[in-house]
């Protein structure tokens, strides 16, 4: 009964908790997958930069339509894609490295975004944009998050093979006539889409949390690519579930609870996983007489 009370009652009792849970599950499905690929492409920081880049677009959406997810999502999508493409172009045509140009672009975006929100909104609005409001998710937002998860699954299934090949051995793909940069751009599109989905729940600053943390955790437990993806999805979903429960019972903000749950799983893995600290310090004894 205790367990029921602790784990399930909040979702049975309250519609907003159910909606939040469904949103977290959908989010975990898309972000977990995208996160693993981001990590393998050594683009973890790029994901972080992109999540900030979403902000000014979302802010313009906010300016036009108030706190409406479709408007802010669309704005965020456009801004995120623009920054991704621009920094790609800058690094291609100048001597700047891609991560450096990403950093410049996202700092600009973050400042511009905060400025735009402050033009009209209060500090509360700014907090919503920066840190998300998963407990206030409405039907439209839920459909958006669900659609993005579905699109992510479908598109990844379609471009899985060339994407993996482009990441593992780009020279080979180009030599056999594959369009490497096309898949790269499609993948960036997926990253931005999932950040837009995540930003309702976790805000622009932490949307990347459900992408990178589960992927990093997965690296401790799984070795093959399908294994990594499965673990990342499960970790992302579990973080959503536990985070919501913790935030409900302790009365703390839901976005940070979710991300901190993922962080806790990360620290646990860091210490106790087969490749973790404990195993390093106390290796299994070698076969001896």
């Amino acid at each position: 009964m205790m367990l029921y009370h602790a784990l399930f009652e909040p979702f049975v009792e309250f519609g907003f908790m159910r909606r939040a849970l469904v949103a977290c599950m959908a989010l975990g499905l898309g972000s977990g997958l995208v996160g693993v690929l981001l990590m393998l492409r050594r683009m973890s920081l790029v994901g972080d930069a992109m999540s900030h880049a979403v902000l000014p677009g979302a802010a313009i959406g906010f300016l036009v339509a108030g706190l409406s997810l479709p408007a802010m999502g669309l704005g965020g999508l456009i801004a995120g894609l623009a920054v991704a493409l621009l920094s790609g172009l800058v690094s291609r045509f100048t001597a700047q490295r891609e991560d450096a140009s990403f950093a410049s672009f996202y700092l600009t975006s973050l400042a511009a975004g905060v400025l735009i929100v402050s033009l009209r909104g209060s500090n509360i609005d700014l907090l919503h944009v920066l840190f998300g409001t998963i407990l206030a998710i409405d039907d439209a937002a839920l459909y958006l998050v669900g659609s993005i998860a579905s699109i992510t699954l479908l598109l990844l299934a379609l471009i899985y093979r060339p994407l993996v090949l482009e990441c593992f051995d780009p020279g080979f793909l180009r030599a056999v006539g594959g369009k490497g940069s096309l898949y790269h751009i499609l993948f960036l599109l997926l990253v931005v889409l999932n950040l837009v989905a995540g930003f309702q729940a976790l805000g622009t600053l932490m949307a990347v949390g459900l992408m990178m943390l589960p992927a990093t955790v997965a690296r401790f437990w799984a070795r093959s690519l399908p294994g990594l993806m499965l673990v990342a999805i499960l970790v992302a979903m579990l973080s959503g579930f536990i985070g919501l429960i913790v935030s409900y019972h302790l009365g703390v903000a839901s976005g940070p609870s979710i991300v901190l749950t993922a962080s806790t799983l990360y620290i646990f893995s860091l210490i106790f996983s087969p490749q973790g600290v404990v195993r390093r310090l106390f290796p299994k004894p070698h076969l001896s007489r």
Binding site: L40, R92, F168, D169, G171, A175, S224
Partner: protein
């Protein structure tokens, strides 16, 4: 089954600085050619242009209408992410890309061929291992198995034996000779001149431009090698940018 690849006044830039100048000549159909030269001679750049990965600044590569599928390319080890969580079999199966593309499934026969390729490189039973667990030599064997599955009529190898153990080098050289025997055109960037003298009938000696190209014995003379060394040492890395920007 193969065709000649000819280069006509080929100039290719790397990072917008021209790395190879005015190379003209022809890789005969069915020939086995080594490309040698000092570090920074532009060997890899030239090879990338032949494969079609870099667009020439000037001149052109005539592949005689060979489709991309007819060219098997082995990139330098550093350009492949060996830590990527892929299985050996999946890696070999990429060789079927030109037949199955992004969406097609592997037929039973193609899977069988992938297994046979693994046997041919001495990695039978390694199919489900992750490539991250292999040694450098074993990994190179996997990439050669991928080339076997590709079944290309032109095979281009960029430093295939760099940092590879002697036994693997010997086994893989056997494969190269087998390809040559089957009438495929093979081009390999190499460092070990002794190896080239023993196994490669033709040689292109490169130092930003052609020093000599032809029969290996007549190319690898003391005089030619000295010229190649001097050429490389005198080279100005900051040479002016040759007209066009690098390929996007």
């Amino acid at each position: 089954m193969s065709a000649c690849i000819s280069l006509d006044d080929l100039t290719v830039a790397y990072e917008r600085h021209p790395a190879v100048h005015h190379v003209s000549g022809c890789f005969e159909a069915g020939s086995l050619t080594a490309i040698v030269g000092p570090n920074g001679a532009g060997k890899s750049t030239l090879v990338k242009a032949i494969v079609g990965m870099l667009r020439p600044v000037k001149g052109h590569v005539d592949r005689k209408a060979l489709p991309a599928a007819a060219i098997g390319y082995l990139p330098q080890a550093a350009e492949v992410d060996r830590t990527f969580p892929l299985t050996v079999l999946d890696t070999v199966a990429m060789g079927a890309w030109t037949r199955i593309g992004a969406l097609g499934g592997m037929s039973r026969k193609q899977l069988q061929q992938a297994h046979e390729a693994l046997v041919a490189v001495g990695l039978e039973g390694f199919g489900h291992r992750l490539i991250g667990s292999l040694s450098a030599g074993q990994f190179q064997r996997v990439l050669f198995a991928r080339l076997l599955l590709q079944d290309a009529s032109v095979i281009i190898l960029d430093e295939p034996f760099n940092a590879i153990d002697a036994r693997t080098t010997r086994d893989l050289l056997d494969l190269v000779r087998r390809w040559h025997g089957e009438g495929r055109t093979v081009i390999a960037v190499l460092h070990d001149l002794e190896q080239v003298r023993q196994h490669f009938p033709s040689t292109l000696l490169l130092a930003r431009e052609t020093i000599a190209w032809g029969d290996t014995r007549s190319v690898l003379t003391q005089e030619n090698l000295r010229r190649a060394r001097n050429m490389a040492e005198d080279w100005d890395d900051q040479s002016e940018v040759c007209e066009e920007r690098r390929r996007a």
